[in-house]
Structures are given as structure tokens and as C-alpha cells.
Symmetry: C2
Subunit: 279 residues, 2 copies
Amino acid sequence: MKVGIVGLGLIGGSLALDLKEKGLEIIGVSKRQSTCNLAIEKGIVNGASINFDILQNTDLIIICTPINLIIPTLKSLIPYVDSQTVISDVASVKMDIVYEGSSLWANFIGGHPMAGTSQQGIEAIQAHLFKNAPYVLTPISSTSDLAIAKMREIIELIESKIYICEPKIHDQAVALISHLPVVISANLIYTALSEKDKKVLELAKKLASSGFKDTSRVGGGNPELGLMMAKYNRQNLLSFLCQYRENLDLFIKEIEQENWQNLEEILQQTAVSLNDFRD
Amino acid sequence: MKVGIVGLGLIGGSLALDLKEKGLEIIGVSKRQSTCNLAIEKGIVNGASINFDILQNTDLIIICTPINLIIPTLKSLIPYVDSQTVISDVASVKMDIVYEGSSLWANFIGGHPMAGTSQQGIEAIQAHLFKNAPYVLTPISSTSDLAIAKMREIIELIESKIYICEPKIHDQAVALISHLPVVISANLIYTALSEKDKKVLELAKKLASSGFKDTSRVGGGNPELGLMMAKYNRQNLLSFLCQYRENLDLFIKEIEQENWQNLEEILQQTAVSLNDFRD
């Protein structure tokens, strides 16, 4: 199989690395010539270029750009590609991209490899980054069997766990387990920073232990990624944020009214259910 | 120095272990004879009993019971103890205990060793549990120099980092960095559980990765500890919860109104400040 990877950052570069190792022919495209050179130097591609015409005769192209560039990149690609070529993407929010992508290209299929590190760029690429991580495919009624089959093949090669679902379900699930935690965690840091008593804030900084550190970790991550997820999954995120706020009011009410038995029952429920969200 | 440890659970037992290793004479008291026997067997005490009279002639007694039993235990101890004996405790909320303890016993001083594991009881004790962890002392104007000096000696022996502050500042700081995270983390799990679309919830459970796991960890902890902290630090916790809710409304507003620049600025601020709460 000849595979094009457009965007040679952490995700695209790591995909190229694993797939080339498995014997596939990998063609890279980056908007920077220096990245193309580096990809060739590192041996993660068989060829690389800043021009899309290098993608002619590929069986599959995976667009690994930032989310806001997926559709513009797809549009730019189309003149260079055979109609049999399957095109996929790696965006973390699927709904709009899948419907627009599918209307632009019959063999389009949305994908979301759920792996990453706190680093970015081709310098940060890792072998086996996707091994055992979830890889979600979001076909819709118009998606071709060919597109599903090609992506299945890729996902098996990189040893990810495949999940297949509707774009809408995917976006709601990631809003809940990925995007909501970012906001509530960021708001924890923001609330700490808004403490006006300097003595309290200084002591809090010194006493912060693993509890605070774990709860605040994702809220202190890459601001651009946080912004993208809010922009692209806005409606689902808002809906969970409002549910979260409603539930927070319940916690506040139980504590305010000293309904200790109710509070204990809730905490017992969260303790018992914690492992449902773990492997 | 002859030190009494009342309550031989994780904290009391681990304190006994480290202090006996440093050559101090350690007397343990537990309400269960089996725990006393186990403490002697494990060699973490020089003597142990279910009766307080074994505590006669001790220089220092540290009450390591659950928070709701600190003051009742202090009251029960008093008939057996010389007036020169310093008495301290390990409760995670200090205000009420320190003022009541100090009115009951002139040589009382509040303390809070901030270490622990997810396990409990004498079976879970660990050597060097407190090494490099914060140990807060909360003297008030009436606290004796003797009490401060004795506890300083202990804290140096177990190699904790000592912090000295008013009980009120301590309680506000732990409400912010320890008790608030428990509630917002528990509410994340609670919100996930309240999702009515089964397809979304099932997929969310499968896709939950380190972001969700870290953010939900402390909210799925021991329900009794969560309840105690809400009961004993109620006012401070409520005040931070209300501040948190107010800030959450700001996040919701910025996302609702698509004020992306404001949101980005907030996320940049939380990203930059994250390390202020890390060593």
C-alpha cells in the first residue's frame, strides 16, 4: 500500500514511522521544506515534498494537520488524487469534518487516533505511539466499504484498538471524557489564582500535593489545543458544562444544608464507579 | 523523649515506626487489643495498651485518630497526663480543634502531616512516609514555646518540611488545594454517570484516557474522608466552591459567546501558572 501523510507533526510523523517500519511506502507532505528534509533524514518517509503532486497514485492519504486545516487541506488535495484514493483525517472532533469531507470526497472516512504526548512537532515523534490506544473510525451511511477496509488495515498495523461509531456519538463521548476535564481542571487553577489572600495562596502553592497536581494537570496543558476543542466541539462541551454546573449546585446544596447522608451516598457512588472509566 | 501515639492507623503507625527507629521511646494506644498486639509484634512501639494510663510520664502525645475523635480523645486523656506533656494531633482541618484543644490543654499544639496513601490501618504503615512531605504546625497566641519546640524536634526527625501558620490560613489553603479538588473531581465522575445516552456513556468509558483518569482520581477516593473534610472544613470549602462556580460561569459565557480570545488568554494563564503549584 502507498500511503500519503499530510502534516508531519507528532501524529503524522509517528504514523509515518510505524507504517514505514511495517513495509508500507510512505509519502510525506509538509508545508515546510525543512520538515520534509528532516522526515527523509529520519527515514520515516520514502519521499516528501511541500507540493501535493507527490501524492499521485497513493491508495490512502491521512490528513494530520491541525483541526482547522483539515477541510482546506482536503480541498487543496483533490485535484491531485485519483477517485479510488481513500482520504482520512485525525481530528479530535468529527461531526462537521466528516459530513463536509464526505460531501467533498466519496472515499472520505473520519478517524481519531487517541494518543499523544505533551510535546509537538516532528522532533517529538515516537515509535508505537498508537499501540493499544483507541483509534475511532466514524463512517456515515455514505462511507464506502473501501474506505473502512483501508483504514482497518492501517489500524491493525499500528496495533491500536479500533472503535467504530457515529460522528455525533464520538463527539459527545470526547466532550465528556476529554474536553470537559480540560475546562474543569483549568477552572481549578483559575480559581486558585483568583484567591485574593496572599498568605492563603502562598501556603496553598507550598502544600499542593498529588491530589491538586493530578486534578489540575490537563487544565494547564497546551492553550491552543484547549481553544480548538472548545471551538470545534462547542455545543457538546457547553451541554456537559451546563450539566456539570447543575450537579455542582447539588454538591453545594448538600454541603450548605449539611445533608451529610446524601453527600456520603454521592461520594460512595463516585468511588464505586471510578473503575468503570479505567481499563 | 518518650512519645505517646494514640491511634495506630496509617498515620499513627507510620509515625511510631519512624520515631522508634530514631531511638525514641514510643508508647502506643489503640482501642483494639489486636492492634496493640500487632504494633508490639511489628516492633513499632516499646509498649502498647488499650488504656490511657500507659501514657503517664510521656513528654509528647500525638493524637492520630480520625478527625471526629480528636477532641473526645483529648478529653479522655487529660486525667492521665502531667501538665508538662505536650499534646498534638494530625487532623487535616485545624481551626475548631486548635481552639478547643488549647482551651482544654495549655500545652496543646495543632499539627497536620500531609502524607498518606490510598490504604488505611496498621497493615498499611510505611517507613519514611513523611520524608519531604509538608508538616504544618498551627500555633495560636496562647501556644507554649515548649509545645512548638517539641513538635519541631519530631518533624526534624521524620524529615518533613515544616510550615508554621495560623489555623485559619491552613484551613483555607487545604480547602483550596485539597478539599475543592475532591468535590470538583467527584462531580466529574457524577456528571459522567448522569449521562443518559447509553451509547455515549459506553464509548466514553472505553475512550477515557489519562486526562480523565487524572482529573477524576481524587473524586473517586475514600467517601468517609471526603465527607469528613466537607463536615469539618464546610465554610471554607463552600466559599471556594462558590468562587469555582462563579468562574465556571465565566468559562461557559466565553464559550457560549465565542469569545475565543478571552478563552485563549485564560488558558494561557492557567498553563503558565500550573508550575506554581508544583515543586
